[in-house]
Subunit: 407 residues, 2 copies
């Protein structure tokens, strides 16, 4: 008994049959005596189809109109889901982001939620209704529809949970939970019963992709108890909780991110502020730089290497090339065939065994580590892409993460 | 130079190519120095597809959620049209019914516009923008999305014209204008340059179907100057104006409505209030009754015949059958194979020649007139359906409505 927020992604409501199945699950949750608020994504490929329509009309569709268009996707899925729940005899109402009081920043295509005015939500809940909310969207101060960008529906669900002080936020997706490694790549990968916000954040941003980092950050900030479960089974999923509630484990998982590229500027004059200026320019253009290494070359010049996501690759390269010319650097190298292999787990920073095992294993396999970065809970190595998968599978065994037999 | 409201129906924006063509027409209107506000329907078959989705989920979808679903159709078309106009270098903004301040009654699926709060509209026009408004939809006092039912987008355009005191309201459709008779049925049918509100109202409600009666009624009430034109050509279309601006013509057109059925109650006890009670019940269930005849049979009983639209047919029949049993009428007859043939034109009522010619012509053709109704501007005859088309073609000649050769 309590207030449960659920989130269903696009594949969970991808067709009429699936919408009906989701409706049954929601009805069941309500029948157990819970108040239920549900955030829903657009059906299946709807968003992609809408994007194609827009691009057929305008090479770079104006952002405000783009959001106006995309927001219809969730409006379709919430109304259909509400109909399906009503067909099961439950009182239900669907709300657009605007009707739900989801106030966002002004910017289109990647707005951030500023607040949720819960008046209408509480009114409908007070009348005993299940409330179905359009994920991924909100409204800005101009009364214009905004969308939240990647991971938007997860973020909607977590923000609703925080605003309503929900007892639990359940994220339904097409996988069973969070694994020690990508099960498509590591046969013996094992589903985790629990993981900490920080750990899952590393797993997510490093390619596990079950939850978007911004939704996890929000959940951590407001201490929203999260569960990731499959909408196609009754398996219990993975709980995401505070680290102090977790059993002490050193390494919890291995993640691999293929979607990165490495950029290197050779022979950068060694003057104060040179690196700062480069990374400022990249930041201004919203290019997210990840791992950075600066290596002293000779007395007067350095090499600077950094990695970016594939999607920022082209922009980063053009900014860097222009900058290199300005400051008189020797040249810019570009390597798209790299990947980032990470060992994740609370306590890694204080455990020298992990680093020793990691570097030792890669060395045994003859794999060259191009860059290294570490944090409290992870050690990441940039290696060449063809070697990444083999390394991940090997490390999964070395750290004894697997189940005894493939699940 | 002035403020022009345009309306484009679903077929006019049925695909990307057509949307671009409509955008060109709108851009041209703006380039001539006009302020432009556009009401748009959903693309092509979108609404039908959404209805099918809903019915696949719920046999009788809850009306509020139905409107939530249907309203996405126009939201897609306005955003795409705005993108297409922006691609031509014009400042433009799309507005949903809610954003446009279109306040409606509470009822879903067939709401009526109560007022338009023009604040946002005037703001955007003041900034020099073309404004694209979602037709067919509004918002009620609960902040819920409503739809206006049949003819909704025409009504939106006319209501916007009235609220903004527009200089002209142009209704773009897939025909050239309003004809003396349906050109698919009468080869020599001729396009009218002008017609009065009252006349077009008779033509529309009698099957000409270019404009929905409610939009014409609204235009007449607020004296909105209407033009009906094709979105596929540059032909001037048909102006709809006050009768006193029209040249004196007796008969302006012939219309034929196939979508009616006749219901007759045989031997109704002749007591005061019996007919009233029947038509009250039908009205309560929103069945629109058209022509009515009550014929004295013997001293104590009458027959009552009336016609209804095909869509109300089943409901009307069940209400009438139940009522007939209650009052002890003999039986109920039902004839779906009838049609309504009308001769329309200002001044018909005062011109006995018209009636004489009409009845004489039908008699020559050996056609039996089952019911007759008249108004200031029309004479309608209910005849058997197989005879309707032949009669219309003949009358079109008799009243010399045709062009000398087919257009």
């Amino acid at each position: 008994m309590g207030l449960i927020v659920q989130k269903y992604g696009g594949s969970s409501v991808g067709n009429i049959k699936r919408i009906k199945r989701v409706a049954e699950r929601i009805a069941k949750t309500a029948e157990q005596g819970n108040q239920v608020v549900v955030a829903v994504s657009a059906m299946g490929d709807t968003t992609d189809e809408l994007v194609s329509l827009a691009r057929a009309i305008h090479p770079d569709p104006p952002h405000r109109e783009f959001d106006m268009l995309l927001a219809t996707g969730e409006q379709v899925s919430i109304s259909l889901l509400a109909m399906a729940i009503q067909a099961q005899g439950h009182d239900v109402i669907s709300l657009t982001g605007a009707q739900c009081g989801i106030q966002t920043t002004q910017v289109h295509k990647k707005a951030r939620i500023e607040s949720i005015q819960t008046g209408r939500l509480n009114l409908e809940l007070g009348e005993g209704k299940i409330v179905i909310v359009a994920g991924f969207q909100g409204i800005n101060a101009d009364n214009d529809i905004t969308t939240l960008g990647r991971g938007g529906s997860d973020t909607t669900a977590v923000a609703l949970s925080a605003a309503l002080d929900a007892d639990r936020c359940e994220i339904y997706t097409d996988v069973d939970g969070i694994y020690t490694a990508d099960p498509r790549k590591v046969e013996t990968a094992r589903k985790l019963d629990a993981i900490s916000y920080d750990e899952v954040l590393e797993m997510a941003s490093l390619g596990a992709q079950v939850l978007h980092p911004r939704s996890i950050e929000l959940a951590r900030k407001y201490q929203v108890p999260l569960v990731v479960r499959s909408s196609f089974s009754d398996n219990p999923g993975t709980e995401i909780i505070e680290v102090n509630q977790l059993e002490k484990v050193s390494v919890r998982g291995i993640s691999l991110d293929d979607n990165i590229a490495k950029i290197t500027i050779i022979e950068v004059p060694d003057r104060p502020g040179v690196a700062f200026a480069l990374f400022s320019r990249l930041a201004q253009e919203h290019v997210r730089v990840d791992t950075i290494i600066q290596s002293a070359h000779r007395n007067t010049v350095n090499d600077i290497s950094f990695t970016v996501n594939d999607e920022d690759n082209e922009q980063a390269l053009s900014i860097t090339t222009a900058y290199a010319a300005e400051i008189g650097a020797e040249r810019v190298l570009h390597d798209p065939d790299v990947c980032k292999l990470s060992v994740v787990g609370t306590g890694i920073a204080g455990n020298t065994d992990v680093a020793a095992k990691l570097f030792g294993s890669l060395s045994e396999l003859g794999i060259n580590i191009q860059m290294i970065s570490t944090s409290e809970i992870k050690i990441s190595c940039i290696v060449s892409q063809p070697e990444g998968l083999k390394a991940m599978q090997h490390l999964h065994d070395v750290f004894e993460l697997g189940s005894s037999s493939p699940e």
